[in-house]
């Protein structure tokens, strides 16, 4: 008898080979028909729906032992979702992991595309909560499938019209719909629209997995994805009008962090790897501390500590 819970009891990357085969077939079909939502028999995963069960299954089907995996949640490598999924694959697949975007071969992401440009040979796996871009406009699945089939996408613009009528501009800030190679309208998962331009023409393979909704779709490398808009209200990206307070980056997507209850706040890169890399290169923001200076000081001696 082995120990209960021994990782050796699992197949490589948790899923059995037949399941991976089924998922790979769905992925291949998705790549063959960019933007089309391919149904697949999503499995129960050892994590709740909404935690990336779709992305995890896609990642599991893509991983080979030589891969180096990076997992991010809202751009960060160190948040709960990212840490637990990274650990899951460390334990069940034994693959190497990294936080550096440029070193990773497979990147699973929730809600962001890394700031560092992706390269050929990389796979970006998105976790998708609701794959159907028309869902909130048309609740019937039979009808939305028909609309995709017949390219009836007028309704998508009705949503953008309503945005402008109510807010004076297209207020959709995330999960901003794109049209893939002039055919399928696709939900890019809830990435900020800041990231939308990076979807198009990326050298990396982009795969989208929705576990609860049982759909996989894909953007092959160098595929065009155009954000929907109006001629007189063109698509525009948006970000907080600040620089990163840690690394000083002017062009990265920022998180707002509340620092006290007196209105204090700071803006930091949501992509932690990008921010750390910049600080190591010597860039410093408004509130950044020089990492070398910290090292130079070193830990306090017992005497110093007592004096304090």
């Amino acid at each position: 008898m082995r120990d209960a819970g021994s990782e050796d009891d699992y197949n490589f990357a948790y899923l059995d080979e037949q399941t991976k085969r089924m998922i790979r077939r769905a992925i291949l079909k998705g790549i063959a028909v960019p933007g089309y939502q391919v149904p697949f028999a999503s499995r129960e995963m050892p994590m709740p729906y909404g935690w990336g069960t779709g992305g995890v299954q896609v990642t599991a089907a893509c991983l080979v032992p030589e891969d180096r995996l990076k997992v991010i949640d809202q751009g960060a490598d160190d948040t709960t979702n990212a840490v637990s999924i990274r650990r899951f694959f460390q334990r069940t697949a034994g693959v190497a992991t990294t936080e550096a975007t440029s070193e990773a071969t497979v990147i699973q992401t929730r809600h962001r595309i890394p700031e560092t440009p992706l390269t050929e040979g990389q796979i970006l796996v998105y976790q998708v909560p609701i794959p159907e871009p028309l869902r909130f406009l048309e609740p019937r699945e039979t009808e939305t499938r028909k609309m995709h089939e017949l390219e009836e996408y007028g309704l998508m613009h009705v949503k953008l019209y309503e945005d402008i009528a109510r807010h004076g501009q297209i207020a959709t800030a995330y999960a901003y719909p794109v049209k893939v190679e002039g055919r399928y309208v696709m939900d890019p998962s809830p990435i900020p629209k800041f990231d939308n331009p990076k979807l198009s023409g990326s050298p990396a393979i982009q795969l989208f997995g929705a576990g609860r909704e049982q759909r996989i779709y894909a953007l092959p490398p160098w595929t065009g994805a155009v954000s929907l808009d109006f001629d007189d209200h063109p698509f525009a990206t948006s970000k907080a009008p600040h620089d990163c307070d840690l690394c000083g980056a002017k062009d990265s997507y920022l998180d707002e962090v509340i620092t006290d209850d007196a209105g204090g706040r700071m803006f930091v890169c949501s992509d932690t790897d990008f921010c750390v890399g910049r600080r190591e290169d010597g860039h410093m923001g408004r509130l950044g501390a020089d990492p070398k200076a910290l090292q130079a000081v070193g830990p306090l001696s017992p005497a110093q500590e007592a004096a304090q």
Partner: protein, 222 residues
């Protein structure tokens, strides 16, 4: 004039032996008629006589069991669904009895009118909005209600909005399923007056279902 007579020489809608059964029961049986451009056809009958079945078969919402429907010399029943749905959002319009069936209740009046425009490729917000204002005016809805949702409208206004939403892409053939049902008499009269004016001005062909014989004489013919 010459053009008009040549157009009028061929029927816009030609129906032959249209039959629809619901199992052993008859929905409508062996219906044939020709509808010429600019003509208004009233389908009158008692409740349960198959008027709505006939209309939904004509509009393609249901499939007829037997018979032929030709629109502008094209066989409607043999068309692919893509073609038929394209037709039904460009050349055709369908006014439901209950405006809630024909409107998007969660979308503003302007969005409702603009939907068909956007469905056929309009991508200029200002122009869509301009057309929506124009059409609200034509159906006597004040321009300042443009951004209100239909749920904030009265029943008569909702029905007029539905008509505007349908006519904005200048269809040639309009199906109306008891458009005045559920409205009080004075509102009915105004709506009929309005529809009559639009039909005359735009030269529409109309197939209208009603159980109210008193409504029929209000419509122009020929």
């Amino acid at each position: 004039m010459t053009i008009q007579t040549t157009i009028a020489a061929t029927p816009l809608l030609k129906v032959e032996g249209l039959t629809k059964r619901y199992g052993p029961r008859i929905g409508c049986a062996d219906v044939s008629f020709d509808l010429y451009p600019g003509e208004v056809l009233g389908i009158v009958g008692e409740s349960g006589s198959g008027k709505s079945t006939l209309l939904s078969c004509l509009a393609g919402h249901q499939r007829a069991d037997l018979g032929r429907i030709a629109y502008a010399d094209r066989d409607v029943l043999a068309m692919s669904e893509t073609e038929r749905r394209r037709l039904s959002r460009t050349d055709w319009a369908y006014v439901h009895q209950n405006p809630r069936d024909g409107l998007r209740m969660g979308v503003s009046a302007g969005g409702n009118v603009g939907e068909r425009l956007m469905a056929v490729g309009a991508r200029h917000y200002g122009e869509i909005r301009g057309k929506a204002v124009d059409w609200l005016g034509r159906v006597e809805i004040a321009a300042d209600r443009l951004d209100d949702r239909p749920s904030a409208f009265s029943g008569g206004m909702q029905q007029r909005l539905q008509i505007a939403r349908n006519l904005v892409t200048s269809p040639r053939l309009v199906f109306m399923d008891e458009p005045t049902g559920g409205l009080d008499v004075s509102v009915q009269a105004r709506l009929l007056d309005l529809s009559r004016g639009l039909v005359r001005d735009l030269g529409l062909s109309v197939v209208i279902v009603t159980h109210d014989l008193a409504v029929v004489p209000f419509w122009p013919t020929g």
